[in-house]
Subunit: 171 residues, 2 copies
DNA sequence: ATCCTTGCAAAACGTTTGCACCTCA
DNA sequence: TGAGGTGCAAACGTTTTGCAAGGAT
C-alpha cells in the first residue's frame, strides 16, 4: 500500500468500456446508476452499493491496470466505504464475469486490466509498470498458436514483453 | 508445501542441460563433482556444498519447472541439509547466472525453468501444471515483436498459453 | 424470510531479511 | 583470516477465510 504502479499507456477501447456496455444494453435509460444496476444483474451479480461504486471507479477512467491495494486506496479517496476483503471479492467476481482480466506477471501482486479483450502487455518489472501493447499488437505478435495437448483446449494466449531501460546491462 | 505442480512434459534440451554445459567446458574431467565446481566458479558462484547439491538435483533430471518448495522437498528427500532461505537464494543466484529462467505466471508461487533458453509455456492454472510448448514453438508463436516504447528496450518476450480441460465451460 | 454480501480480524501463503555462525579459498 | 554463504526465526506484503452483522429481493 506504499508505492503504486504507474500506468503510462491507457489505450482506450470503448468496446469493453463499462459505460459503453451499459449504453448498448436493451433497456438502457441513460441514467448511469440505473443502467449499472441492470448491467450488474445481467452478469449475475447483485447490484450492491460496493459493487456499483467500485465498478464506477474502475471503469469510468478508461482502460487501466490496477492492483487490489490501488483500488482500495482509490475507493478510500472517493469516500467509498469498503473493506479490503470486499475489494478482493469484487475484483474476482468482476473477473469471473468477464469485466476484468487478470494479467500474467511475475511478482507478488495481481494486476487486473479493465480491458478484458484479447491484447497484450509491456512490463517493466523493476519499475512496476504495466502498459498495453498498442493497436494490432495482438495479431502482430501471435502468428500461429500451437495445438493444445490431448484433453485440453486453449483458453487464451498471453504475451508479456519485458522491457528494461535502454542502455542498461543485462545484470 | 502441501500439493505440488505436476510436470507432464519434460522436453529435453541438452543445449542448456547442466551436464552438457559441464561437458562442453574446456577443462572438463568427466568427474561430475569436479566439473560442477568449475562450472559454478565460472558463473561467479562459489561452489558450496548446497549449491553443488542443489545444482545436481535441479539439472540432473532433464528440463523441469520447479517452485521453491518443490526444490526444498526434493532436497530434503535427498538428505541435502539446506534451509528454505538458501533454496530461495540459490534459485535467484542461478537465475541471475542464466542457469534458470523464471516463468511468468499468475498466482502466488514463482516457477523456475531449468531450461533458460527462449521458449514458451502451456499453463493449466486450475491444476498447477506448467509445460513447455514443444519444438519451434517460439518462432512459430511470436511473429513480429512490437517496438519498445521510448527509452526502453525489449528484454524478452514471454508467451503463456492458458489451457483448460476440453469440454469445460468458460465458467 | 431468505440468501447473498459485507466487514473485520486473524490466518495463510510465499518470500525476504537480519544476524550469528560457519566455510571456502 | 577474511569475504561471503548458510540457517534460523521473525518480518513482510498480499491474499484468503470464518463468522457475525447488514442488505437485497
Amino acid at each position: 500500500m506504499q508505492h503504486h504502479t504507474k500506468i503510462f499507456s491507457d489505450v482506450p477501447n470503448s468496446a469493453v468500456d463499462w459505460r459503453a456496455k451499459v449504453d448498448f444494453r436493451e433497456h438502457a435509460t441513460g441514467c448511469p446508476w440505473h443502467d449499472c444496476k441492470t448491467f450488474l444483474r445481467d452478469v449475475g451479480l447483485r447490484p450492491t452499493r460496493q459493487r456499483l461504486l467500485l465498478g464506477w471507479v474502475l471503469f469510468s477512467k478508461g482502460n487501466r491496470h490496477v492492483t487490489a491495494d490501488m483500488l482500495y486506496d482509490e475507493a478510500l479517496a472517493a469516500r467509498i466505504p469498503v473493506s479490503l476483503a470486499t475489494i478482493y471479492n469484487t475484483l474476482h467476481q468482476f473477473t469471473q464475469a468477464g469485466l476484468l482480466r487478470e494479467i500474467s506477471a511475475t511478482g507478488g501482486r495481481a494486476y487486473f486490466d479493465t480491458n478484458p479483450s484479447e491484447h497484450h502487455h509491456f512490463l517493466v518489472e523493476d519499475e512496476d509498470v504495466v502498459m498495453d501493447i498498442p493497436e494490432g499488437g495482438h495479431e502482430l505478435l501471435v502468428d500461429k498458436v500451437p495445438d493444445a495437448p490431448e484433453g485440453y483446449e486453449i483458453e487464451r494466449v498471453d504475451v508479456v514483453v519485458r522491457l528494461r531501460r535502454s542502455g542498461e546491462q543485462i545484470r
